[in-house]
């Protein structure tokens, strides 16, 4: 039985520009910039020195912290510098810059680890951690931490192939072109989590991908393929769990608390490659599209490639971009410095021309209530906005601002074009900045 999550919206999917374009491989650039923070959790510390020679797949940075993920070099060459560099999420972050010698010599640690069937769960878990895997759907939560928190608690394993953000076709192409990698990674996850039920969740605008996966699965299989209605934010973890199982993750809890674990399709494929080739996460598929791009493409990009180099490799811009995003148009981050590198969680690079920019925001709420209907978290954006503007933090907290997943549905549907999500981010910051002891119990 397919359930439905409440609310959400249906932006035009705009995927046609890249839907049918096979993934091309971008050769490593002359220089890569690897920020020490490409994941949720503690930043890494470099384990290489300037001038040191490194090889493809070699560990460049790591952390002893529980929640973190190591970083590897996508090129062979020489460490140029370890310094503060622009990060696509804003600001500057300590990064390792490596100059590519163009020889692509793999590091000695890169060797096939065998097959998921032959390995023990503990060996698999170590491979996941050592490959630096993080959630590739955008959240970048370290995969091994997620597996650890879910082990022994899950009856349902969900492979998230919803890809509900407009424009993005990276997972779609991956499923069409390398279904065996996706299924292989899923098999490894099954082995790690031993769920009773395993579901691959695809949105109805990717039926061809669902069909390809079905053909890849053996005739008799215990993996379910579920085609969900195309509705944003279908791929948000809590909404996806609701759609598949009818369960709701309580506030402040994890999917494991409702006996579920969700992994992105691209994460599963990366896990498969880490097992079968030994290559850690040094590349990912990125959709490069938008009205300002000359040639929209799906590209396999070495992580750490400067954003401007990725655009240039596709043929540059058709016209001067007015806005550049990493990620989708609903939750992506606007970039101001295109020398920032592509990081692990980035599934799309979008460039919009001036006349394709949405009309600027207004400040008049007409109380139409569309935001209330669109909120997939059952919140009241109209009242949250009003209280945030007036700095009424107690009310803001009582309206459960913390439940907001910042999916953007409310802002999208707002006829007054209010900057609702921005106001909620500001509100969350105000609550964090509030002197301690003033919380309302």
């Amino acid at each position: 039985m397919i359930h439905r999550f409440r609310g959400g919206t249906h932006p035009e999917d705009k995927k046609d520009a890249t839907r049918h374009k096979p993934v091309e491989t971008l050769p490593p650039p002359q220089k890569v910039v690897l920020p020490m923070s490409m994941h949720i959790g503690a930043p890494c510390e470099p384990v290489v020195r300037p001038e040191q020679e490194v090889f493809v797949g070699q560990l460049v940075a790591d952390s002893a912290a529980q929640v973190s993920a190591p970083i590897h070099s996508p090129v062979s060459g020489k460490v140029l510098a370890i310094d503060q560099f622009p990060h696509p999420n804003g600001g500057k972050v300590k990064s390792v810059v490596i100059e590519n010698d163009g020889r692509d010599i793999p590091h000695e640690s890169v060797r096939p680890k065998g097959s998921a069937e032959a390995l023990t769960p503990d060996q698999l878990l170590r491979i996941v951690r050592e490959a630096g895997l993080v959630g590739l759907g955008g959240a970048a939560f370290p995969t091994h931490v997620k597996i650890l928190s879910a082990r022994g608690k899950c009856d349902t394993l969900i492979l998230n192939a919803a890809e509900c953000e407009p424009y993005i076709t990276a997972d779609h192409r991956l499923m069409l072109e390398a279904p065996e990698e996706v299924i292989g990674g899923l098999r490894a996850l099954i082995k790690l989590l031993e769920p009773k039920r395993t579901v691959i969740a695809v949105e109805s605008n990717k039926r061809d991908a669902a069909e390809t996966l079905r053909r890849t699965l053996p005739g008799k299989t215990d993996i379910e393929l579920v085609v969900l209605r195309t509705r944003y934010p279908q791929g948000a973890e809590k909404q996806l769990i609701k759609s598949i199982t009818g369960r709701e993750v309580p506030p402040g809890k994890l999917p494991a608390d409702v006996r579920c674990a969700v992994f992105n399709a691209a994460t599963a494929a990366a896990l498969h490659r880490a097992v079968t080739t030994g290559m850690p996460l040094t590349r990912r598929i990125v959709t490069i599209t938008g009205s300002a791009v000359a040639n929209a493409k799906n590209l396999s990009v070495p992580i750490g490639t400067p954003i401007i180099d990725v655009f240039n490799a596709t043929g540059g811009f058709r016209e001067k971009p007015a806005k550049v995003l990493t990620g989708g148009p609903m939750m992506g981050v606007a970039q101001y410095d295109l020398t920032a590198p592509l990081v692990k969680s980035c599934n799309a690079l979008l460039a919009f021309a001036e006349d394709d920019m949405p009309p600027s925001g207004g400040d008049i709420c007409i109380r139409c209530g569309r935001c209330v209907r669109a909120c997939p978290m059952n919140l009241l954006p109209v009242y949250m906005y009003m209280n945030e503007r007036k700095n009424r933090l107690t009310e803001l907290e009582a309206l459960r601002l913390s439940d907001c997943i910042e999916c953007g549905s409310c802002s999208f549907v707002c006829p007054g074009r209010l900057h609702l999500v921005h106001s909620f981010r500001t509100g969350k910051q105000k609550l964090r900045d509030r002197p301690t002891g003033s919380e309302v119990k």
Partner: protein
């Protein structure tokens, strides 16, 4: 190098609908009942509408200009108020009263509270109530009916006070309703300009529903409540079905339920709040028709419900995601730690 890139918070795309398009949809929907009124009441409907709309736009423009506020007439909401105002007035209303009503609606009710979206009373209905007071009206009768005929004196339809319930119905008409179902449905009955034709009002409502400007909740709850109560407790010796249909179609109920009670600023935003709001409007309307002998039952019940919108939104707040409304742990909601 890239100083010309725009940086803003997500989301970076927006739906096509905006305030202006919604207000334009309102105007289109209101066109249907107005066209019928034009057909039945004549050219005066047109001139009254023009006066009302122009006055609303003018007063809004002047107020905001004088107080050095941003110009807002472009959002079309003043025009909508103008059309709504004329819809609730009898075709005999003098022009100066329409202008006075427009001033009250736009300046006192809307702008003094902060403008679009901030007013807590429905501007058109508040102005209607205000004009009723100005004219010392207890019903439509005086003095609006003094000069009730249209501009060129050719209308055969008369706007008369409509007794909707109570003893007057029995006294006046001897236990049958004064109009046929068909006349009421099509609009060949006396009443305010915008309220006479149930058929065209419902058509306008259907348009708003299809365009997703309104949802079904408030109109359905409102009309449903009135239908249920009048069917269960008919009065004036009329057969219950006749009495129900008469109450649904003869007064301002459909206009109120579809176009007035659904006004964004003055109705709840939460789904449950909207149901409660509609039911409340329905209950008050029936009470006023039964016990107060007021033909403006719909107008006053909506205005009364306007004042409790925030409370209804509090009551109607959606269930928190991941938390059950009733009971504690059930399959799926609770944590199970093995």
């Amino acid at each position: 190098m890239d100083e010309q890139l725009t940086v803003s918070s997500s989301p970076h795309i927006r739906a096509d609908d905006n305030t202006r398009s919604i207000m334009t949809d309102m105007l289109i929907a209101l066109f249907f009942p107005l066209a019928v009124a034009f057909y039945f009441f004549g050219i005066r409907v047109l001139t009254l509408t023009c006066v009302s709309v122009l006055c609303c736009i003018l007063f809004e423009y002047a107020y905001r200009k004088l107080l050095k506020k941003t110009r807002s007439i472009g959002d079309m909401s003043a025009a909508v108020t103008g059309v709504l105002l004329v819809s609730v007035l009898p075709p005999s209303t003098p022009y100066w009263m329409v202008a006075l009503g427009a001033f009250f609606a736009v300046v006192v009710v809307k702008q003094l509270y902060g403008g679009l979206g901030k007013n807590f009373l429905n501007p058109a209905l508040a102005a209607r109530a205000f004009l009723g007071g100005v004219a010392s009206l207890s019903s439509f009768a005086e003095p609006l009916l003094e000069n009730r005929f249209d501009l060129f004196g050719s209308a055969d339809a008369v706007a008369a006070a409509t007794p909707l319930a109570g003893e007057s119905l029995e006294k006046l008409y001897g236990g049958v309703t004064p109009f046929t179902w068909q006349d009421m449905f099509l609009g060949q009955i006396p009443g305010s300009i915008g309220e006479v034709s149930a058929a065209l009002l419902l058509l306008g409502g259907l348009y708003l529903l299809i365009r997703k400007v309104i949802t079904l909740r408030i109109p359905l709850a409102f009309i449903g409540t009135v239908a249920l109560l009048t069917f269960l407790f008919p009065r004036g010796g009329v057969a219950r079905l006749d009495f129900m249909v008469y109450n649904l179609l003869a007064g301002g109920l459909i206009l109120g339920a579809v176009f007035m009670a659904t006004d964004y600023s003055t109705s709840p935003v939460t789904p449950r709040g909207q149901w409660l709001f509609g039911i409340g409007c329905g209950l008050l309307t029936v009470f006023m028709r039964y016990f107060a002998a007021m033909p403006e039952g719909v107008c006053y019940s909506i205005l009364l419900m306007n004042t409790v919108v925030w409370t209804l939104d509090k009551v109607g707040r959606p269930r928190r995601f991941g938390v059950r409304l009733f009971g504690k742990k059930k399959e799926g909601s609770g944590a199970s730690r093995a």
